[in-house]
Amino acid sequence: MDKPVNQRAWFLVLPVFLLVAFSAILPLMTVVNYAFNDTFGSNAFFWVGLEWFEEVLTSERVHEALLRQLLFSAIILAIEIPLGIAVALTLPKRGIGASVCLVILALPLLIPWNVVGTIWQVFARVDIGLLGAFLSQIGVDFNIGQDSIDAWVVLIVMDVWHWTSLVTLLAYAGLQAIPEAYYQAGRIDQASRWAVFRYIELPKMKGVLLIAILLRFMDSFVIYTEPFVVTGGGPGSATTFLSIDLVKMAIGQFDLGPAAAFSIMYFFVILLICWVFYTVMTNLDRQDLPE
């Protein structure tokens, strides 16, 4: 890193700083305010210290939401990462076929999230959806409104449908960056397909895959709109993930204090993951430099 020191560069950054600070710091301060106070409306606040934090930390309901969240993130990572890599390996390397495939793959990523939810909500319905109707036709007792396993399956398949392409696109970009000479070397050594993957492609994709894993973990960890549209957190609270639980608490029950304390702790977890992400990114940048 031999960038010249220039404090006047701050002037170039200032607009961004002010704009993001307005949208980030002010709302966050409101949240902090609610987290440490109790209010009976009309802007009268009473200092309650860490009471809300204790309430949230010991709340059974929050623990369950956290467990569900971690389970959901773990399952979708376990499916999306291998599937994404597998699809990336099958994509044509160049030509019109490659372009068409890329466009089709990217399509789900560009659909508004509540429309994604709507698509799958309808698709999974037994009376009017293709998937639901097909499953009940072959004799599966399928009902996402009542059976929590069914609801989970639909949400996981939906997320795989929505986001595996992201993993594929990143892995594909990593594969494209491998020079042909590496494959030639592999052919000379008569390496098996598996050996080529294990010793040439996988190490070269390591960086992008790390990005993919972190992005997917992060985004699935804050997922809200899609499961909200499909199941509304139900049946019961079977699919109430962290964000859904938070909004239920804040807007449904208007428990602003606990919700704010919840938000702050949620935010710290995100901060931690972000730090890992940032470290990975800057390490990648440093590796790129000498070449």
Binding site: W10, V20, A24, A106, A259
Partner: protein, 289 residues
């Protein structure tokens, strides 16, 4: 002699080795086709539904419409609350894209060219905002924009979306700018260019594709989010998200119109995606692939 024995097994094995790549190719195409079908079938189902009448949707499950109708689309294009929903959404998306890219350009330049007090912390802080859960911000945003009198305006949504789009644009643009050699800047300054003229006349054309990609991603993330836009608008600015909730009424859901509205939200993204197909991965990786 020893050379010949080394070569022999390979030649014997050749017929079988030629079979295997063909099998592998078949498996690989099979997987690709299956995956593409998996992606397209739910979208097809939505399109299929949008051309059916509500009675047909509710009475049978059929792979194509028995009575093909454009009535659902007619309803959307004939009702100003519906089609204005798209117009309102496009307005705040355009505002957001313009603001985000404009402020991100000089900032990304600063990050890619200079080190300054707190630069790394600032860069990290920007990233945390890209990742922040929207659900945490929905309610505080409502209070903030109500208190400054911007509630229910396009600019409120555009500014709120800046929270995650400005950091994204800075990261993407910085990724593209680091690919431009610093000698170009230095030569331009020696030639007597001022910073402003250099930046607009020389530097921006060099990273034109980066600007396009950053704009596309701002457009996209502003378009796909309907949670914040719904929280910040009510009467004057009825966004498409609000309009879509109107399909449920006392008589049940109007599935045909809902499907048609959904199809129409997919189209803008589908139209522009062709132009950025080779940069999508770079954009998602925040400019780091």
């Amino acid at each position: 002699m020893s050379v010949a024995t080394d070569v022999l097994p390979a030649t014997v094995a050749r017929p079988r080795a030629a079979e295997r790549p063909r099998l592998r190719l078949a498996v690989s195409y099979g997987l690709l086709i299956a995956y593409v079908l998996f992606l397209l079938v739910p979208i097809y189902w939505l399109v299929n539904m949008s051309f059916k009448t509500n009675t047909e949707i509710l009475s049978s499950v059929s792979l194509w419409p028995a009575t093909f109708t454009l009535a659902n689309y007619g309803k959307i294009f004939g009702d100003s609350t519906w089609y204005m929903g798209y117009v309102h959404s496009l307005i705040y998306v355009a505002m957001n894209t313009l603001i985000s890219v404009t402020v991100a350009l000089p900032a990304a330049y600063a990050f890619s060219r200079y080190s300054f007090l707190g630069d790394k912390h600032l860069f990290f802080w920007l990233l945390t905002n890209r990742m922040a859960p929207a659900a945490v911000f929905a309610l505080p945003f409502f209070q903030l924009y109500s208190s400054v009198g911007l509630f229910d305006t396009h600019i409120a949504v555009a500014l709120a979306h800046c929270l995650f789009n400005v950091p994204l644009a800075v990261w993407i643009l910085e990724g593209f700018m680091r690919g431009v050699p610093r000698e170009i800047d230095e030569t331009a300054y020696i030639d007597g260019y001022s910073f402003g003229r250099f930046f607009v006349r020389i530097f921006m054309p060099l990273i034109a594709s980066g600007i396009g990609v950053a704009a596309f991603f701002c457009f996209m993330f502003s378009w796909v989010d309907l949670l914040i836009s719904r929280t910040l608008t009510s009467v004057n600015v009825k966004t498409i998200g609000v309009a879509m909730t109107r399909t449920s009424s006392a008589t049940g859901l109007d599935y045909g119109t809902l499907a048609a509205a959904g199809v129409l939200t997919i189209i803008p993204g589908a139209l522009v995606i062709w132009f950025v197909r080779n940069y999508i991965a770079k954009g998602f990786a925040l400019g780091r692939v």
